[in-house]
């Protein structure tokens, strides 16, 4: 155990150092850009895993939280002239506030009904963004958002070196925070509730409060990621709420492996680079997505626990469960008859 654990610690240290060294060897701005985007999606996917994987909440509003972060940061930075760094934090807080609002109805709901409410909430957010076009720019989007700054440093003329390190720093911080959360007593309690709601409550775990906390925390990190996203790209536009964004990030969570945090981050890198690698092939726009789709299925076929199960000290939750309990678990057990 200890040896394995040490091995893992070393591996993580090695990965962090590699991450820090990448820009020294990769001078190409395109590749640096891909890393930055993969880091952002890594944050979104890993924080989604907190609610989806650990807490077992079928939260389909995560991309809406990301969008809330994007617009909150973009608007405060551009319209109110708030310092962009501060605005990024506001993005995280705004996303958390949105999550708290969603939590009100869904802490009472079971299983798949959560999908419906969270999905409906996403659509409401999108509708608000589009309809308030005098503020948000509507379908046209919000352009010329000011970017982050440091005294004496120009982020726009350094071939994305600065953005790379900021994104990497945010990713490492997010991952560390999320790992700490899931290993804490709080993490234990949300996993407990995921495994068995009623039993969790019978052991004194306040279900509504823990779910609220999980949603708020998960949204905070994705909101921060959204904040960075808008400051980096300098535009906020409603396409981010598209079904395709949600399915991209969802694929990162599931291909990476739920309940692992590292898995989704890893998958974000793999999928981003793979998809972009295929984009280089001429006349292959459709084929690119077909190949990515096939890869997803193949990964899930051979690693149903996701890529995370290839990591050392894998997260080997045992599998064999029977068909019998399947639907009840999904729909949420409402059957307490004797």
């Amino acid at each position: 155990m200890d040896a394995l654990h040490n091995g893992k610690t070393w591996l993580i240290a090695l990965l962090v150092i590699t991450g820090l060294l990448v820009p020294i060897f990769v001078e190409d701005t395109y590749l640096r850009h891909l890393f930055i985007i993969a880091f952002v999606y890594g944050m979104v996917a890993a924080s989604w895993d907190l609610t989806l994987g650990y807490a077992g909440i079928f939260n389909f509003a995560h991309i809406a939280f990301f969008g809330v972060g994007i617009y909150a940061t973009g608007l405060t930075a551009k319209v109110l002239g708030v310092d962009p760094w501060m605005a990024m934090l506001i993005g995280g807080l705004a996303a958390s506030a949105a999550a708290a609002i969603v939590a009100l109805p869904i802490v009472r709901l079971k299983g798949v009904y959560v999908i419906l409410v969270t999905f409906a909430f996403s659509q409401l957010v999108l509708q608000v963004v589009i309809s308030q076009s005098s503020i948000t720019g509507g379908t046209q989007g919000l352009v010329r958002v000011p970017t982050i700054w440091l005294p004496g440093y120009n982020f726009l003329r350094d071939y994305k070196l600065g953005y790379y390190y900021v994104a990497f720093g945010l990713l490492v911080a997010t991952t560390v925070c999320l790992r700490c959360l899931v290993r804490s007593d709080f993490g234990l309690s949300i996993k407990a509730l995921r495994d068995s709601e009623d039993y969790g409550v019978s052991r004194g775990i306040p279900i509504a409060r823990q779910r609220l906390k999980a949603l708020v925390a998960s949204a905070f990190f994705t909101g921060m990621a959204g904040g960075f996203y808008v400051l980096y790209l300098r535009v906020a536009s409603p396409e981010i709420f598209d079904f395709s964004t949600a399915s991209l990030v969802l694929s990162m969570v599931l291909v990476g492996g739920t309940s692992s945090i590292y898995g989704p981050v890893f998958a974000a890198l793999v999928l981003t680079f793979m998809s972009e690698g295929l984009a280089n092939i001429d006349n292959f726009a459709e084929g690119r997505f077909m190949i990515v789709a096939v890869t997803m299925v193949v990964v899930l076929l051979f690693f149903p626990k996701g890529l995370a199960s290839m990591l050392p000290n894998g997260f080997g939750e045992k599998t064999p469960e029977i068909l019998l309990h399947r639907k009840r678990r999904i729909a949420g057990s409402t059957d307490h008859a004797e």
């Binding site: 007593d185 234990l188 309690s189 996993k191 407990a192 995921r194 495994d195 068995s196 009623d198 039993y199 969790g200 409550v201 019978s202 052991r203 004194g204 775990i205 306040p206 279900i207 309940s259 939750e317 045992k318 469960e321 409402t334 307490h336 008859a337 004797e338």
Partner: protein, 251 residues
């Protein structure tokens, strides 16, 4: 909490009912349990036994009407997790443990959240509780779903006593056990009782119920049809009719 005087019942249930539409699953049931008692509840299938546990603990729903007091304090208005924290813990008839967590984590979580202990204290309490139910040390790091049926019963009881409850509601703990295991379970119940925990037991396996209960209550169609000393209750013609009638219908 106020100090309890010795004559006050530890758990008192007054006129609780639970309806589902037109169906009355529990019909104005009242009883009270003294501290230190082992209180048995019997009744044919569908007589409302588990529903009674559900509405006492609020998991997953409170009573439609009626009141529940713990040491003189009303608890039926509390949230379910608060009822647990107040000291009324239950087990479930079906497997309900935290399947992906280890046995130790299962018990630890209960000590932290229900017992509201700090993590060091909770860790000690968890090991102690597992010792009490004599779950083998090497099994404690296994995921709960990897444990045997009996080990899961041990685990469920351990996770309850780690939280130092006042009352433990056991919902058909012998379901799915072999005869020798059932007798081990009886010993386990005595052990828990020996820790000063009041026990309410629903059981289908009548010999076990009769063996351990000091007081027996029988439900039929959601209502109490008899209550008293076990050996007297089982001779009550109403009870016999309820069970026999059931059996005949079943045949």
């Amino acid at each position: 909490m106020l100090e309890t005087n010795d004559n006050q019942p530890l758990l008192e249930v007054r006129q609780v009912s639970r309806r589902f539409g037109a169906l009355v699953a529990v019909d104005r049931v009242s009883f009270s349990i003294q501290k230190g008692e082992i209180f048995g509840i019997a009744g044919p299938n569908g007589s409302g036994k588990s529903t009674l546990f559900n509405i006492i603990t609020g998991i997953p729903f409170p009573p439609s009407a009626g009141e529940v007091f713990l040491a003189g304090q009303p608890i039926h208005k509390l949230r379910p997790h608060q009822i647990s924290r107040a000291g009324v813990l239950r087990t479930f008839q079906k497997d309900a443990e935290f399947a992906t967590l280890s046995a130790l984590e299962n018990v630890y979580a209960s000590a932290v959240y229900c017992g509201q202990m700090g993590s060091n204290e909770a860790r000690v309490a968890a090991q102690q509780a597992l010792d009490d139910v004599s779950l083998a040390a090497e099994r404690r790091t296994k995921a709960a779903s990897d444990l045997s049926v009996f080990e899961r019963k041990q685990l469920m009881i351990a996770s309850a006593i780690a939280a130092r409850p006042k009352v433990l509601l056991l919902d058909e703990p012998a379901a799915g056990l072999t005869r020798p295991e059932t007798s081990d379970l009886a010993d386990l119940i005595y052990t828990v009782h020996g820790r000063g925990i009041t026990i309410v037991l629903i059981e289908h396996v009548l010999p076990l119920l009769l063996k351990v209960s000091e007081h027996l209550m029988v439900l039929n169609h959601g209502a109490v049809i008899a209550s008293g000393k076990p050996e007297e209750v089982v001779r009550n013609p109403v009870v016999v009719a309820a069970y026999l009638g059931k059996r005949e219908a079943g045949l």
